[in-house]
Symmetry: C2
DNA sequence: ACAAAAGTGTTTGTTGTACACCCATGC
DNA sequence: GCATGGGTGTACAACAAACACTTTTGT
């Protein structure tokens, strides 16, 4: 099996859950009416990565999304029906680019803020908890903030993303200095428009430069 | 399935492999006479962690060993017989405490230095490569060097372990300063004996202090 | 003029890095 | 006395952290 923790930013950091069917709709299914992570079985010809991507696509119609395996959960009691082994992934998406769609076997689909979670099915609360830990760890060591932003963004937006992931405030001056020093941001000739304050400079992430730097032993770190 | 990469230090950093049977002994088994990682199936009542521990015990008679899950490998072509999904672990042991034992279905068992590896079965070379990456990453952020040393050790031994894990030289003065500053080493009233140079002070790792420090947000780092 | 966020500069203390050097022991 | 690894001290550069300040926009 695979389970996918989908992170996106809508005001704050949120994750995507799917509502399971009621007792009447599916008498044999455990955790009726509970919210659960998107996921499912691995097909015979697939890798677990492919299965994760497929499941995500089925729910969100999103392709080419940042996704990383982080842990495999197992044990005889995870699912009351039978022992299961499930590899868990976290994915980073931009919610505005998705087309959510509750499939036949799901009643509903929705975003939940980390501080207002519903009751979750199975051990999905544990999976979510670990996903968040890993995401935070990752954010400090690899430039993944961009995955949650549009191509063009301001340093203010970028800082905000990192603050939401890490759950703590960052110093503006230091954040900018550090990020610009790395040289992986490309300054565009565009600026923000229509805001009632000084418009911000827009940047984009230069993946090529980052990849080159990585080869030379450079280590991203916040 | 589970696979276990067992690391130990014998002169340099080595890993434990098991020799598969020959074509004559087991005509239907793939990779005859190849060396392979210890591993096997997950029993119905087990977690993958328990399966990893069991497999390790069966080969080495070692219990209570540091072991960590690091990745799940999958895909239809990993095993020529059938698609398999295997969760991989790395373990840290002290080779002198083990009782190696080639089980019925294995011809031989042995330690191999990372720079003199034999031809490996399946995708075990990939698994080993990732295990080493993860081990190095871990070594920089968590005090695991002790797992490869006896209870009592000198700072020189400790530094040597880290150098072997990381594959690069470390500055003696800085290494000592940093480690002692953390306060997780307990100075013993013993010193090294019978060496033809100044005898070294012996220490032991104080896990309780480390756990307390961790709670206060302390982060081990080299 | 004011609010609001963008953007800059500076100061202070801490840490990383690279050395040079002294110490205790066996041979 | 010499070789060997243990153990210490220091100087410089780089960096983290905290904070105050200036700039540019819309209302």
């Amino acid at each position: 099996m695979v389970d996918v923790v989908v992170f996106g930013i809508i005001d704050d950091l949120r994750t995507l859950f799917i509502k399971r069917q009621s007792k009447e709709e599916a008498p044999d299914e455990p955790f009726p009416n509970h919210w659960a992570l998107p996921g499912g079985h691995v097909e015979i010809h697939e890798t677990v990565e492919q299965a994760g991507e497929r499941e995500l696509f089925e729910e969100t119609n999103a392709r080419n999304v940042f996704m990383e395996q982080f842990h495999t959960f197992s044990g005889p009691d995870r699912d009351p029906r039978e022992p299961t082994i499930s590899t868990a992934f976290y994915a980073l998406v931009r919610p505005d680019t998705l087309v959510l769609e509750a499939r036949s076997d799901a009643k509903d689909i929705g975003w939940f803020s980390m501080n207002h979670l519903p009751k979750l099915a199975f051990d999905h609360a544990d999976i979510l908890k670990m996903a968040l830990e890993r995401l935070r760890d990752k954010a400090l060591r690899q430039p993944i903030g961009f995955e949650l932003l549009p191509k063009k963004f301001s340093l203010g937006q970028l800082q905000s993303v990192y603050e939401k992931i890490l759950g703590r405030a960052l110093d503006k001056s230091n954040f900018r200095r550090d990020f610009l020093r790395m040289g992986i941001l490309e300054e565009l000739s565009e600026r923000e428009e229509g805001v009632s304050h000084r418009p911000s400079q827009l940047y984009r992430f230069n993946k090529r430069t980052y990849d080159n730097l990585k080869k030379t032993g450079f280590r991203f770190e916040i």
